[in-house]
Amino acid sequence: EAGVAQSPRYKIIEKRQSVAFWCNPISGHATLYWYQQILGQGPKLLIQFQNNGVVDDSQLPKDRFSAERLKGVDSTLKIQPAKLEDSAVYLCASSQRHTGELFFGEGSRLTVL
């Protein structure tokens, strides 16, 4: 069974530029999560989808971050414009249901200069 796929693995941009990350969850998993992990900290939930609907985006900085999950399968997380403090690893995870076991992708490491 294929795991959670993410791309790109690494991205370096200048501040005020935009960037997009893509995630394809495990087949059949209804719940998809985007987490932000800053160096030395635990992952912080940015947004959670159940199928193609948002169930929690309370910690998403909506003035610059956006995410969508069209057709309830893969998802895109966008940052525009990026700030220095957005430098982090962006982790995508999926689970069969919203209280289920989480499986993570390898992450997308963003460096904002």
């Binding site: 999560y33 900290q41 635990g42 992952p43 939930l45 929690d56 309370s58 209280t99 390898e106 992450g107």
Partner: protein
Amino acid sequence: GIQVEQSPPDLILQEGANSTLRCNFSDSVNNLQWFHQNPWGQLINLFYIPSGTKQNGRLSATTVATERYSLLYISSSQTTDSGVYFCAGQNSNSGYALNFGKGTSLLVTP
């Protein structure tokens, strides 16, 4: 949402030693998971354990939901156990977010 505290923050062990990692949470949970983040950053799910005890090889976990804590036991540690161990908890009554603690950084030396 649930607040998660982990202890100790750092741990150094010699190969073969045993250890216990602790996770306290601020409210009752109906979802509690332990993860291992290896030195390359990959997060691996170790246990899904909202209550009770589970074992997987040299690792085992116990969650005492009524007392709001969970323990992860590592026996006969190996250098490949090094990395950061996270627990994450969720209470559906206070939101959907599965919130992570700050982790325990483990280094196992030869």
